[in-house]
């Protein structure tokens, strides 16, 4: 099976334990990996987005906070700003909102994944990493419904396993892997 040019973007969601998982993920990506990676990491509403500085150390992908109306570019990774939901419009631009929390979270992984699924349809890869709740499960299901690929961190290898477990219970996912393996798979998918 060939994946040539199928995928246009990656969305990833992480909660408790996410920092280490994201570091490992970024460390494992090829030099030339250039699909946009759009990330929701649950974070305290008033936090400075320190993750940006940390993740920028780990890969050539330029990591920054998502801005409203921005179009995701190859070669960049985007983090949802603290205290904003990040949505993807049908034309792929970002929208930020301060609506109610979803699954007790703002940003919420479901909000990103559900809107991204509709925008990118079968050209999207969704990844659920470590976390302590069930945010992202509905979103990952929607990604599958639109023909995208669903990847979940192996709960055995997750710092906190509830979020990956919830995702696996909700959807028939394509891959359950440790984070190093997820990086290797992304490399393969991006190369086509």
């Amino acid at each position: 099976m060939t994946y040539r040019k199928q995928y246009k973007a990656v969305v990833a969601g992480a909660s408790a334990g996410g920092l280490n998982a994201l570091k490992t993920l970024f460390r494992g990506l090829d030099e030339q990996f250039d699909l946009p990676v759009i990330i929701v990491q649950h974070i305290s509403p008033n936090a400075e987005n320190y993750l940006i500085h940390i993740l920028n150390e780990f890969h050539k992908l330029k990591v920054r906070e998502a801005d409203e109306k921005e179009v995701p570019q190859n070669g960049f990774a985007y983090l949802a700003p603290p205290n904003y939901h990040l949505l993807i419009e049908p034309d792929h631009t970002f929208t930020l909102t301060i609506d109610e929390r979803v699954n007790y979270a703002r940003p919420s992984i479901d909000v990103l994944f559900e809107t991204a699924a509709e925008a990118y349809k079968d050209q999207l890869i969704g990844i659920i990493l470590t976390g302590a709740n069930n945010d992202g499960s509905k979103g990952l299901k929607k990604i599958k419904e639109f023909g995208g690929m669903a990847i979940v961190q192996d709960p055995e290898t997750a710092e906190v396993d509830s979020m990956p477990k919830a995702a696996i219970q909700t959807t028939v996912v394509d891959y359950i892997l440790n984070v190093e393996e997820i990086a290797a798979l992304l490399n393969k998918l991006a190369r086509g």
Binding site: E68, Y84, I88, E89, P90, E114, A119, E145, F146
Partner: protein, 281 residues
């Protein structure tokens, strides 16, 4: 299955556009240039709660039942707010902007999209503590009449006051937030003296025009819901409301960079998204 998904997505999007159009044609509330993904989430949320069979049923209900439309207006209003939200912004107002206003004999402020009023009262408290409030007039507007009524009442759940107090202190509050409200069965009611110089009114940024010249416009976390075209229209309203040297305050993730009116402003405190209307030579 994938094909079915794509087709039902397309159909659903068409139905939502028709609903938005029906609300505009019948009631004049125009959400056509709001963020599509946002409007869709809110409307589907209402749809799921409504128990209706499809979105088209929501169109019929909207045309026939004003109460149902009021509910949708509430869904599309931004009701998440807090007193002294982003304390650093209020601190910047207090320390860097108010000294500029000190010399004004009279200060007019337009708080556009004020929602339930928490941030309007924050401003009133701040100005009181800096000795500016007595010569200030605040126009606080929102498109939603139900929300403006709430703002006018100035009554908030007591259990939110702790969070608001923390913000108030971080914003450089000079006393205690509890100096500014009375407690009544689980609610905190803001003091009437804070309301003295505030006019609460409905005004729709999408369809209404300029109503006053003001020295300071505050419009935070409203533009993020609009598409570029509508953002530009609204920023034009602010340009037309502000004299040279007038100030515009946006939300922390909003900026003028892509607006066609960018050249009308200079960033004054970039980190807090405070802009000053340029002086024309």
């Amino acid at each position: 299955m994938k094909k079915n998904q794509n087709e039902s997505l397309e159909n659903q999007d068409i139905e939502i556009r028709l609903l938005v159009d029906a609300i505009y044609q019948k009631y004049g509330y125009d959400f056509r240039n709001y963020s599509q993904a946002h409007v869709k989430r809110r409307i589907l949320n209402r749809f799921n709660l409504s128990g209706m069979k499809n979105i088209t049923d929501m169109i019929h209900e909207s045309l026939a039942n004003r109460k149902f439309v009021d509910q949708i207006l509430m869904d599309l209003s931004i009701t998440v707010t807090e007193m002294f939200r982003d304390p650093a912004f209020y601190k910047a107002l207090r320390e860097e902007i108010f000294p500029l206003l000190q010399s004004y004999p009279f200060i007019k402020i337009w708080h556009a999209g004020c929602s339930s009023g928490e941030e309007v009262y924050s401003m009133a408290i701040l100005m009181k503590e800096e000795g500016l409030y007595e010569r200030t007039q605040i126009y606080a507007t929102d498109f939603n009449p139900v929300i403006i009524k709430q703002a006018k009442d100035g009554v908030y759940p007591l259990n939110r006051m702790k969070e608001f107090s923390v913000n108030y202190q971080k914003a450089g509050g000079k006393g205690s937030l509890s100096d500014y409200y009375t407690i009544n069965s689980g609610d905190a009611k803001l003091l009437e003296i804070l309301k003295k110089n505030i006019v609460f009114a409905t005004h729709n940024l999408v369809t209404d025009s300029v109503f006053a010249e003001v020295n300071l416009v505050i419009c935070r976390n409203v533009l993020i819901y609009f598409d570029r075209y509508l953002q530009d229209r609204v920023i034009k309203l602010f340009v037309d409301s502000l004299p040279e040297g007038g100030l515009l305050c946006l939300g922390s993730k909003e900026n003028l960079q892509f607006s066609s009116h960018y050249h009308e402003f200079n960033p004054l405190i970039p980190k807090e998204k405070i802009y000053i209307r340029k002086y024309l030579l």
